[in-house]
């Protein structure tokens, strides 16, 4: 009896642990023969829409796209008549894989201690067996930029494919950017009844201190780079390693851009001014007020990853649709932009609906679609691999029942580098389990 209880407890614990830490969804098999998707509407993004077309891919790469494509004999032909093919959607701002359950501290690996962490890398903490990638990809999100968060220099992001056995398999590109959360330069409006905020003076002081710290860090990194370069010369002593500055060398060399998280116009302009004096490439992430400085962004060719489209307007007087119209305004001004997610981990699947909202408030629908496919691919530096349906690119694509920006649309097939991805997940399994319960009770057919 006792043993029974113990083993029961053990079994329960096991289930618990498995539920918490392991997804039992098996990654897709490497593509071992050509696949042809036949008869669907192909939304290539970059080369228009092909009705009743064929997409052929092999060894993980797209081979041909069009109406007249020679399908090899050994190819697996999938009839998708009446369905639609799109490139896999790309979410350019998430923390997927770094957080499992927000309130459970043990499952959070997203913010390292301290203000200066240029060396930390998102991909190495990405949990391949998290429940979130399968849930997210079920809605057509194939790639997610996984971003460390923090109060200042937070670390390096990685672009992850949402299917695979290990983080190494799943990394499409890393590092993508060095992320700096720009100090707040505008006091939030209003006062809560319960809690006093930082006074404007305190905020100003703190901001100045942090801006100074960013400058100093780059200054020191430059000095470090110089010292390291010099140490190869005769007579120059070896300089001890500093991981932080070491990690910044590719940034100083212009190989890795700085992703500046900034929302107010003042913050964005401050970041631009800094980047110019520092001579580094930047991408603005957030960009709530980017429309106010669109001409500057345009003239300096600085791209923007708009995030959190579904948010409240910034101030009491702001237009109720202010967050929904930023994308349209940037589009009109000719600024390079994409629509990113919310920096979250559990509902990043809703990215296409954020793009949909932008379309409802002015952005042309095809632009909205580009804003979650080819534009993020360009901004993240992977447009040669993903973001559109073109021969030579990764066979990372989705087959849907309709417009992915419309909520009722279902994703019916998904391929990541040609691997057919399992669209079931923790949630569909729980659903099926309880559908079965009600079937047995005679409450459902």
């Amino acid at each position: 009896m006792k043993i029974k209880i113990i083993s029961l407890i053990f079994a329960l614990t096991l289930i618990f642990v498995m539920n918490l830490y392991a997804s039992d969804i098996i990654p897709g098999k490497p593509q071992n023969k050509p696949i042809a998707l036949v008869g669907g509407t192909i939304h290539t993004i970059t080369n228009g829409t092909i009705e009743n077309g064929i997409v052929l891919f092999d060894k993980g790469k797209i081979v041909a796209v069009g109406k007249d494509v020679n399908i090899p004999k050994d190819a697996e032909v999938i009839d998708i008549k009446g369905k639609h093919v799109y490139p896999g959607l790309i979410n350019a701002f998430t923390t997927i894989g770094l957080v499992e359950i927000g309130a459970v501290r043990a499952t959070r690996d997203v913010t390292e201690v301290g203000l200066v962490n240029p060396n930390v890398r998102a991909e190495v903490a990405f949990n391949p067996d998290s429940e979130h990638p399968p849930v997210t990809r079920a809605n057509g999100i194939t790639l997610a930029l996984v971003v460390p968060t923090g109060d200042l220099i937070a670390g390096q992001s990685a672009l992850m494919m949402l299917d695979g056995w290990t983080w190494e398999d799943m990394t499409l590109k890393a590092p993508v950017g060095l992320h700096i959360y720009w100090p707040r330069m505008v006091q939030a409006q209003g006062f809560g009844f319960m809690f006093a905020r930082q006074s404007p003076e305190e905020m100003k002081k703190e901001t100045e201190k942090r801006l100074q710290l960013i400058r100093e860090t780059f200054q020191k990194a430059r000095a470090y780079k110089k010292a390291k370069e010099a140490e190869t010369q005769k007579g120059v002593p070896y300089h001890d390693t500093d991981l932080k500055y070491e990690a910044m060398i590719p940034v100083l060399e212009g190989k890795v851009p700085v992703f500046v998280h900034a929302n107010s116009a003042k913050e964005i302009l401050s970041a631009i001014q800094w980047a110019e004096s520092e001579g580094v490439k930047i991408v603005i992430v957030g960009g709530a007020d980017s429309w106010k400085v669109a001409d500057v962004l345009k003239s300096k060719n600085i791209p923007v990853i708009l995030t959190n489209i579904h948010r409240l307007p910034s101030g009491r007087d702001s237009d109720y649709d202010e967050p929904f119209t930023v994308a349209y305004k940037l589009y009109k001004a000719g600024v390079k932009f994409c629509i990113g997610g919310e920096g979250g981990y559990y509902n990043e699947r809703n990215l296409p609906y954020q793009a949909g909202t932008c379309a409802a408030f002015g952005l042309p629908r095809e632009e909205a679609l580009k804003a979650i496919t080819i534009y993020p691919a360009e901004i993240l530096g992977v447009a040669d691999k993903v973001g559109s349906i073109e021969p030579g690119k990764d066979a990372t694509l989705i087959v849907t029942t309709g417009d992915p920006l419309e909520i009722p649309t279902q994703v019916i097939y998904e391929f990541i580098q040609g691997r057919k991805v399992d669209l079931s997940n923790r949630q569909t399994k729980l659903y099926e389990k309880y559908v079965e319960k009600y079937r047995r009770l005679g409450l459902l057919k």
């Binding site: 539920n19 918490l20 499992e100 359950i101 927000g102 309130a103 459970v104 429940e131 979130h132 330069m185 505008v186 006091q187 409006q189 009844f193 319960m194 107010s264 116009a265 003042k266 579904h310 948010r311 409240l312 307007p313 101030g315 009491r316 007087d317 237009d319 109720y320 649709d321 981990y345 559990y346 509902n347 699947r349 809703n350 609906y353 949909g356 909202t357 379309a359 409802a360 408030f361 629908r365 920006l405 419309e406 909520i407 009722p408 649309t409 279902q410 949630q427 569909t428 729980l430 659903y431 309880y434 559908v435 319960k437 009600y438 009770l441 409450l443 459902l444």
Partner: protein
């Protein structure tokens, strides 16, 4: 006791003043009889004597008039050219009281600790109820503060304790120096004072505004009970003795008409205070905020007098356009309109008395009052608000408030009309004793003098203020400013550089001023001394200060609410509205109708069908290509709550009420109207197993809090289970409040219901038995009454819940107590026990797809809603978020995606289903004849992400219109720009503000 005190007061002043303290040394009996003559006397706001005399004897005005016989024993003071006003009274100061201390209860003490603390005295259980405190016992005259207040014309002030919610009783005192409190106190206990406090931490009840209000109400009910309990005990001493409670004892006089003040932090707070005052028939004065003009009619209708601050804001910093963007129109408008607050209140017929309270620098008080006068407040009303009105409120207008015989000799002497910008207060008299402000020297040195030093003749002109003189010396056509001019008693110091006027070196003069002459000596460079004499050749000219360009302020009307997107008036309700050619989602059995019309008559749906005839005068809306749906109902919202969503201190707070703290000005109401929301179930938070009472609102933007309430909606209450109530994610410090487990959650709920039943029994027993003998009545307990209403089926339970175990537990508890849970909120594992929920008959109000933010929601699935609906649970999707509420139509679409509901059934999740859950489906939730005309016009299919909400109507009134919205944006921009220009005008014409050497606290 107090009554006797006054009766004695007046005769005592007429005779020699008696004192109880033994005399030390020689007796001091100077004559105290004065006649102030040849003076303009503003006796009261309505009565002025152009030239007359005031006779004062022993601190009391003996006579006033144009032709008064000057008593032969009087010292005569000639005040030609001067003006006398009654002394000012401030009814809300902290004069002479200790500055507010950091109280133990405001620090982060553990809740249990607070309970366990050894209690001293017999005050109330709650540390914020300090009603028995007497300011009198802590009062000590404060010379510096008195001087500051006198400089603004004040002679008498009410000193009010500053701590707690119930703060205790104030003391009325004179601002006289050098006297014992015994002599300066006029009335020892004037009023009880109440204020809402900010909560500190999560430990001490209350930490929310609604908790404040609940505590105030319960305490007054307790005070009533206390009286009846002791009354019963005195009649029947064989009963068990009731508790002694000095705090409740102290409130007895408040219940009998002694004034009670409430501090209102804005115009909506004012209405909250008034409601409490009305509930207990209090003689209330409400301490204003300066925002009253925004809801002046509602404030007038309360009927309560206002103690009005003149805290007109400084011009905001709008120089940096980025920073200026962070200042909203509401704030800009307040800067513009605040100085008109007194005028608008007066125009509306509100009684008010001015106070220095809320002024950062009380030295600006008079200047601010003058600003109010400049902005249209009549001078006599301003004067009244400083004198007679406060005197009447105190019930002391027999001795205070005007310059009339028999009253205390409290008055102000000025050099001219006190409301003139450059007028000066020269002296303040309090109880017949004079205090210099600007001062009135025996001989005024100001004017033009002809002076002789040795052989030189010079002209000296002295001007400025007595305490800040300046001057210039002239000889022939040469002149130079005096380096120094100062008067000490009658001794005048003058110094100037003689070189400029033909005398070598620095000239220093010490002279004594007399009427028209000066005599003294001058010392010149080299130490030589000469006789100095001077004769006044002319009196000073009336000095006009540099005439500043006055900034003109045209009146800007308020909108409702004030600021951007407010309405200038309530949206109209046309007799008939006819919507033509729309796709109408009726959310009823009629389903979706294509090319259909809907006729609305006086806010009610009359007909839905094809080709409806337009009645005469109907407003016709062509909705070809548009979709019309019922207004969206959000079954879980925290929008429009002021002062905290949670009363998170205690595990059970059934007594707190959202209806007390509705913020009708919350811009999120408008933003949600723009997403098609017309009604919301506004709930208390989930910090406690039994939280506060909810309020179902209709989003009637622009109306007052009470007018937002959905009157037909039954009462309800928030319950909560799981991680939040057991404080799982509150931090490591929170491990002691019961309950800490789901087991404890069940027990505390059962315990509360049992207590409610016991409470009912106690009342029934009392009602029965007290017919036969005198008994102590049970205490009216607001918490238990709310719980009892649940058990009687009069109050709907909306229970925050996640896991299937806790959901089932609550259903079973409810069944044990014989009632039904109205809605399970969130209910993310509802899909696991949908059959049990359906059988119980509870509704389920869930999120479409949230999950994994905490452990108890790891099993949440987006199919939850559809699955529950299919198994027979009435299901809705809610927002729990100001933002998500704007897109509930799209949330509904997720039930099509996950779980496969039809589009029509999906839309019901945010229309008729929440209406059913809230028991308001008779009125709203679907488009059917007889129901409220609450509807939305969409640009397309409401479940499409590409669709926008174009119009939102409630009861046949259009509260949102996208085209109107675009216009309002432009108007707001224009007004913003106009006010920013004004700010610049004012800043460029500003002059230095008066400053004290030390800033008052």
């Amino acid at each position: 006791m107090r009554k006797i005190f006054y009766l004695l007061l007046i005769p005592a002043l007429m005779l020699a003043q008696e004192q109880t303290k033994p005399v030390e040394g020689l007796r001091d009996n100077p004559p105290k009889v004065y006649a102030l003559t040849n003076v303009k006397i503003v006796q009261s706001p309505e009565k002025t004597i152009e030239k007359g005399t005031v006779v004062i004897r022993d601190g009391v005005i003996e006579s006033v008039g144009a032709n008064v016989q000057i008593p032969s024993d009087a010292q005569v003071i000639d005040l030609s050219g001067k003006v006398i006003y009654p002394g000012f009274i401030d009814l809300y100061t902290s004069y002479g009281l200790p500055k507010q201390r950091e109280r133990a209860q405001t620090q982060q003490v553990g809740f249990q600790q607070q309970q366990a603390e050894t209690k001293k005295g017999a005050e109330n259980w709650n540390p914020n109820v300090l009603s028995s405190k007497l300011a009198l016992n802590e009062f000590a005259p404060d010379q510096k503060e008195a001087e500051r207040l006198r400089s603004q014309g004040f002679t008498v002030v009410l000193s009010v304790p500053q701590e707690g919610i119930f703060r205790g009783k104030s003391v009325l005192v004179m601002l006289a120096d050098g006297k014992a409190p015994n002599d300066v106190v006029i009335k020892p206990a004037v009023a009880q004072h109440i204020a809402f406090i900010r909560g500190f931490g999560r430990d001490v009840y209350p930490n929310s505004l609604m908790g404040n209000i609940a505590l105030i109400r319960q305490t007054f009910y307790d005070a009533k009970w206390y009286a009846s309990a002791w009354d019963a005990f005195s009649k029947n001493p064989s009963l068990q003795k009731p508790e002694v409670n000095s705090s409740l004892e102290a409130l007895q006089s408040s219940l009998k008409g002694e004034p009670v003040t409430f501090e209102a932090n804005d115009e909506l707070d004012f209405l909250r205070c008034a409601k409490i005052a009305k509930e207990f028939s209090l003689n209330a004065w409400i301490i204003g905020s300066g925002y009253e003009y925004r809801r002046v009619d509602a404030i007038k209708n309360t009927g309560y007098p206002v103690i009005l601050p003149v805290n007109f804001p400084k011009p905001p910093d709008v120089e940096n356009p980025d920073d200026a963007d962070a200042i909203d129109l509401r704030t800009l408008k307040h800067w513009y309109n605040a100085p008109e607050n007194p005028k608008r209140l007066n125009d509306a017929g509100v009684t008010f008395a001015f106070t220095t309270y809320r002024l950062e620098n009380p030295a600006e008080f008079l200047q601010k009052v003058r600003e109010a006068v400049e902005r249209g407040l009549p001078e006599n009303v301003a004067l009244s608000a400083l004198t007679l009105t406060p005197a009447k409120l105190l019930g002391l207008d027999k001795i205070l408030g005007s310059v009339e015989s028999g009253k205390m000799a409290n008055f102000i002497i000025t050099d001219k009309n006190i409301f003139d910008e450059d007028s000066k207060i020269l002296q303040v008299w309090i109880a017949g004793e004079k205090y210099d402000v600007e001062g009135m020297p025996e001989f005024d040195p100001r004017g033009e003098w002809r002076a002789k030093i040795n052989n030189d003749t010079l002209n000296i002109n002295i001007s400025g203020q007595i305490k800040n003189l300046r001057g210039r010396v002239r000889s022939g056509n040469k002149s130079v400013n005096l380096v120094k001019v100062s008067l000490f008693d009658n001794n005048l110091t003058l110094a100037f550089n003689g070189d400029s006027v033909g005398i070598k070196g620095i000239v220093r003069i010490s002279a004594f001023v007399r009427k028209g002459t000066m005599e003294g000596y001058a010392e010149v460079s080299g130490g030589e001394r000469f006789v100095f004499s001077a004769v006044k050749i002319s009196e000073p000219r009336d000095e006009r200060p540099r005439q500043l360009k006055k900034v003109k302020f045209e009146s800007i009307p308020v909108t409702y609410p004030d600021g951007a997107f407010g309405f200038s008036k309530l949206p109209e309700q046309p007799e008939y509205v006819l919507i033509k050619n729309a796709t109408i989602w009726t959310c009823s059995e009629r389903g979706k109708l294509e090319n259909a019309d809907m006729l609305v008559h006086r806010g009610v749906i009359e007909k839905i069908g094809k080709n409806l005839e337009a009645p005469k005068g109907a407003v016709i809306i062509d909705a070809t290509g548009k979709h019309v749906t019922p207004g969206i109902i959000d079954a879980h919202s925290h929008t429009a709550i002021s002062g905290g969503v949670n009363e998170s201190t205690q595990a059970i707070t059934a007594e707190v009420r959202i209806q007390d703290v509705i913020n009708s000005d919350d811009i999120n109401i408008y933003r949600q109207l723009a997403g098609g929301v017309t009604a919301a179930n506004v709930l208390h938070g989930s910090a406690n197993p039994i939280g506060g009472q909810n309020a179902v609102l209709k989003y009637r933007w622009g109306l007052l809090p009470d007018e937002l309430i959905f009157k037909e909606a039954p009462a309800g209450i928030k319950f909560a289970l799981g991680e939040n109530v057991k404080q799982s994610n509150w931090g490591d410090r929170y491990t002691t409040r019961y309950p800490q487990t789901r087991m404890g959650v069940e027990q505390i709920i059962r315990d509360a219901f049992k207590a409610a039943l016991d409470y009912e029994k106690a009342w029934n027993t009392y009602r029965e038995e007290s017919k036969k003998k005198v008994l102590i009545p049970p205490r009216k307990d607001l918490q238990l009454e709310a719980l009892l209403e649940i058990l009687k089926g009069q109050r709907l339970v909306h229970a925050h819940s996640y896991r299937q175990d806790e959901i089932l537990m609550l259903l079973r508890v409810a069944e044990d107590f014989g009632f039904r849970i109205a809605t399970l909120q969130h209910v993310l594992e509802g899909y696991k026990i949908a059959e049990a929920i359906a059988k119980h008959g509870a509704g389920a109000s869930t999120f479409s797809d949230w999950w994994a933010y905490k452990f108890e929601v790891y099993d949440a699935i987006p199919h939850n809603g559809a699955l529950m609906e299919k198994v027979g649970v009435i299901t809705s999707f809610n927002s729990d978020s100001d933002e998500l509420a704007r897109r509930l139509n799209l949330e509904a679409a997720k039930a099509v995606k996950y779980g496969g509901l039809s589009e029509e059934d999906a839309l019901k999740l945010v229309t008729i289903n929440p209406a059913k859950q809230l028991r308001i489906d008779k009125y709203v939730g679907s488009l059917e004849p007889g129901k409220h005309a609450d509807f939305v016009i969409w640009s397309g299919n409401p479940l499409s992400t590409y669709t926008v909400c174009e119009q939102t109507w409630i009861e046949g009134r259009k509260y949102f219109d996208r085209n109107e919205d675009l216009k309002m944006r432009e108007e707001a921009k224009k007004l913003r720009d106009f006010i920013i220009q004004k700010i610049f005008e004012v800043k460029s014409s500003a002059r230095p503000q008066p400053q004290f050497a030390t800033q008052p606290n």
